[in-house]
Amino acid sequence: MRQPSWVPAGTDLDKPNAARVYDYYLGGSHNFEADREMARKAMELWPDLPQIMRANRAFLRRAVQHLAEQGYTRFLDIGSGIPTFGPVHEAARAIQPDARVVYVDLDPVAVAHSRLILKDDGLSSVVEGDLRDVPDLLSRPEVAELLAPGEPVVLLLVAVLHFVKDEDEPEKLVRQLRDALPPGSAMVLSHASLEGRPDQAGAHQDLYKRTPTPLTMRPVEQITGLFDGFELLEPGVVFLPEWRPDRPEAVGAHPERMTGVAGVGRLP
């Protein structure tokens, strides 16, 4: 049985929150002073951050688009945050008008916001849940229904696993999710990596310690290992702009500056 905690994370608006900080980087106004203050501090140290977030958002959009073109119509977006610009259901429905999306987030404010946006969307639903408790997540009716045998599903773990600490065993969580996916399902994953800007990693992780979701950047090798059991789609696990760019020149001269890596895998 789930018990509400006395001071739930995310409703304390005096504390920065990863979902709202992300929105600020993307130029949104779904944020509060504490979020902006932290984002400004982070950008002062690392001016590329908004661009990195945009690169991540662009990857999400390209991956969803690619998979929708392959015929996928079911999407499970875990760690969806505040999906104001280019949310999965919009990107997917550009190709598959009947695409169904279940959004999952830990942050009650992000969840409430998503519900406001999606209240008239019969094909999407929002679940407040914790990636660190996969069995609980899988037991939610919306999730269970989406994962029901039959049609393959796209599991999106975009910029979320770096908010899972080592002691919460990210590999195990991905394995549990993988085992629940119908055959032929796909996983879209992006993750902050240590390789791109090793000089920035330390200070940046320190900033996120103030949020309810501290940041753990990981080496590319470990991130690639998360695709265990999946067949990686071309071009494999690469820096964010390098994954199937819209135009070759969109990659830019320094994709490693985007510091995150991404990949898409498919279950046999």
């Binding site: 509400p4 779904h30 509060f32 990107a91 550009a94 009650p108 409430a112």
Partner: protein
């Protein structure tokens, strides 16, 4: 992708269009779907083219283009700066340039303001919704817990760490028979009860100071109406996230009925229903308790009471009257002796017993006996009858270490019979000689001859240790008689009779044979760690011509090394240089067996004979060490006597064993004095051979050896 219908449809200049496309592709545009982006580029480029080139300048077109950018999430001010720059670069139809840029910027800014306000409202609403959601969840959760708290069948109380009671549930109010108002402002510390289990409040202090998280006790409380309620109490500590104690939660279950029942059963099991006095079982339990861990030198007293002429009352006036008389007697004894701290018990029939714990001496026991007689001096009035009851009392007062519970009660009983014989209505003090005589008279001499055949004898072994290192060096064999009526008798109670009757000869042989067999068995099992065997030799045995032959036969039969055997003789065994016993003893020693003088210092003692006796050891009688604790005797002098005996023995080249050592302090003092070996309760009581084997085995573990020494 960069070309497209929109450009052609718009008819704007290709140069502006290309620059505009490049601008929007950068920054935020990189995240936008290329198709969506080209639609936006087309729409805005067309609007701007018209704003720039239409005959009449319509600022709304430029405003619209600015707003469209914001709607597509181009909210970065850099985009605005770059767009204005671009608009300035390309020529316009007239002097509308500044106005055009102004209108575009205004449109962008107005849309951004709208968007910002909308998003702020949305996120604020989301935050409020989330909070309300959580508050609702908390409220319903609190309601559930409140219902659980209120309707729980178990009493629950919540308090702070200062001991203030903050909340109690209904069940707890019922247990305390109190209303919520009654509980208001009460403190945990107010809930003391005189029968609280020792330790409960210490545990409570430890809990509220955070040293423990939990404790459990059975605890009585006063109800609001003054009645006592017994509860099974569990108290747990609640800490905050930092581990600082915050609250205490007490859970109480009413166990009054169960407790009362247990108490009643316990009372029934230990009390005589007729008189309400402790019964025989309770008396023996208390008496045996005294023998468990006695202080060195601790004494106790017994008054064995029997009513004179009770049978006459019973026979002539009936059982009912007899019972009433017993109850009245019990009440008198109880009120006369219990306040003195003595225990009065009914053993059965018209027999009562008074137990004096921590008795200070014979005088106190005798005083108790006089109190018994005085309490029963006045006639008892029952109905119309005035019954004169007298009683006889057998008084026994001993050091605990010198006897056993069974022997003491038997001795007190026999002493009582002497009082009866001496003419009733009086007390008689225990006398060991009289006691031995009484034992033999009543039960021993008649039965003893056949007891050996019936296998009623057995041997216990008492450890003798080396004082230097605490190791077990020898054991003394002590014969016991499991008498069918009298229980287990010690040697002091029957050896005298055995000597008188001559039974000591076969009994002595049997003891030697058994003990040597046992000692040989230990040698087989433990080799050099097996203890030497010490066996008492009665005077009559020493004088018997067959002694040497018997010992030789037994040693051969049991294959015990003669060096492992020591015989203990008393000072009176050899009375002169011509004594024939002397010859036999020399022969035994020639065999390799050693001799020791037992109970040295108590008998008639001509030290000169010590030179002639082939002894190798002395055993200092237990009474010397025992007297060191007798408050009536000079302790200092006592130690000097012991010290003198030790140096005397050493002068003669003899090993000294101290008997009756009951405390660690005495053992240490004897060791410092140079005493070689010791035995006594401190080192171990006489025990079954299996227990000796266990000690040998245990001592071979090095740490066990140390533990024993410590």
């Amino acid at each position: 992708m960069s070309g497209g219908l929109s450009e052609a449809g718009a008819g704007s200049g290709p140069a502006f269009h290309d620059a505009w496309t490049r601008l929007l592709r950068g920054g935020h545009g990189s995240a936008v779907h290329p198709g969506t982006l080209s639609l936006l580029v087309g729409r805005t480029a067309e609007l701007l083219h018209r704003a720039r080139q239409d005959e009449s300048f319509d600022p709304a077109l430029a405003e619209r283009a600015g707003a469209l950018l914001v709607d597509s999430h181009f909210t970065d001010p850099v985009v605005l700066a770059q767009a204005v720059e671009l608009l300035q670069e390309f020529p316009v139809r007239d002097d509308r340039g500044p106005a055009l840029c102004g209108a575009f910027a205004a449109g962008w800014a107005a849309a951004l303001r709208e968007r910002t306000l909308r998003e702020q409202e949305a996120i604020r609403l989301a935050a409020d919704t989330a909070r309300q959601e959580i508050e609702r969840a908390l409220r319903s959760s609190e309601a559930r817990f409140r219902a659980l708290f209120e309707s729980a069948a178990i009493g629950i109380g919540l308090g702070d760490t200062e001991g203030n009671i903050l909340a109690v549930n209904r069940a707890l109010q019922e247990i305390f028979g109190a209303s919520p108002q009654d509980m208001q402002g009460r403190r945990v510390n107010d809930l003391v009860h005189p029968e609280d289990t020792p330790g409960v409040w210490e545990a409570y202090e430890e809990l509220i100071s955070g040293k423990r998280d939990y404790f459990q006790f059975d605890k009585p409380y006063y109800r609001h109406d003054g009645e006592v309620v017994w509860t099974h109490l569990t108290v747990s500590l609640i800490r905050d996230d930092e581990g600082v104690p915050q609250y205490q939660v007490a859970m109480l279950e009413d166990i009054t009925d169960r407790y009362r029942l247990q108490e009643r059963l316990r009372h029934q099991a230990t009390h005589d229903p007729l008189t309400g006095l402790p019964n025989r079982a309770a008396f023996f339990e208390r008496l045996e308790g005294l023998f468990e861990e006695p202080e060195p030198g601790a004494r106790f007293g017994l008054c064995y009471v029997d009513l004179d002429g009770f049978k006459v009352v019973n026979d002539s006036l009936g059982h009912d009257m007899g019972d009433q008389l017993l109850a009245a007697v019990a009440a008198r004894l109880d009120s006369a002796l219990t306040p003195l701290g003595h225990m009065v018990a009914r053993l059965g029939g018209d027999e009562f017993v008074v137990l004096l714990e921590n008795c200070r001496g014979e005088q106190e026991a005798v005083a108790a006996a006089k109190t018994v007689l005085a309490a029963l001096a006045k006639p008892v009035l029952i109905g119309d009858h005035k019954l004169a009851v007298g009683a006889s009392v057998g008084v026994l007062e001993r050091r605990i270490a010198t006897t056993t519970p069974g022997a003491a009660v038997r001795a007190a009983d026999l002493t009582l019979y002497r009082a009866k014989e001496a003419g009733r209505g009086r007390w008689t003090l225990f006398d060991p000689k009289e006691n031995a005589r009484a034992v033999s008279r009543y039960a021993v001499s008649v039965r003893m001859p056949s007891a050996l055949d019936r296998g009623e004898f057995f041997i216990d072994y008492q450890p003798m240790v080396d004082l230097a290192d605490g190791s077990l060096v020898a054991v003394e064999a002590l014969v016991r008689w499991r008498h069918p009526q009298l229980g287990v008798l010690g040697p002091e109670e029957f050896v005298g009779v055995a000597e008188e009757t001559g039974l000591i000869m076969p009994l002595g042989r049997w003891v030697l044979e058994q003990a040597c067999g046992q000692a040989a068995d230990w040698v087989d099992r433990f080799g050099s760690r097996a203890p030497k065997l010490s066996v008492n030799l009665a005077v009559r045995q020493a004088r018997n011509a067959g002694l040497v032959g018997d010992i030789d036969r037994i040693l051969r039969g049991t294959r015990l090394d003669p060096a492992m055997l020591q015989l203990e003789i008393t000072e009176s065994t050899v009375v002169g240089p011509e004594d024939e016993a002397l010859k036999a003893l020399h022969a035994v020693v020639d065999m390799g067996v050693s001799l020791a003088v037992d109970d040295f210092g108590t008998g008639w003692s001509n030290l000169a004979y010590l030179r002639d006796l082939p002894v190798s050891g002395l055993k200092i009688a237990g009474s010397f060490v025992g007297d060191l604790h007798d408050p009536a005797k000079d302790t200092h002098l006592g130690w000097r006597i012991v010290s003198g005996l030790v140096s005397l023995a050493h002068t003669l080249g003899l090993t000294v064993t101290a008997e009756g050592v009951e405390s660690r302090a005495d053992a240490e003092r004897l060791r410092l004095m140079g005493c070689d070996w010791a035995q006594g309760w401190h080192f171990g009581r006489p025990v079954r051979p299996g227990e000796i084997a266990r000690r040998i085995a245990e001592a071979s573990l090095p740490e066990a050896g140390l533990a024993h020494e410590a």
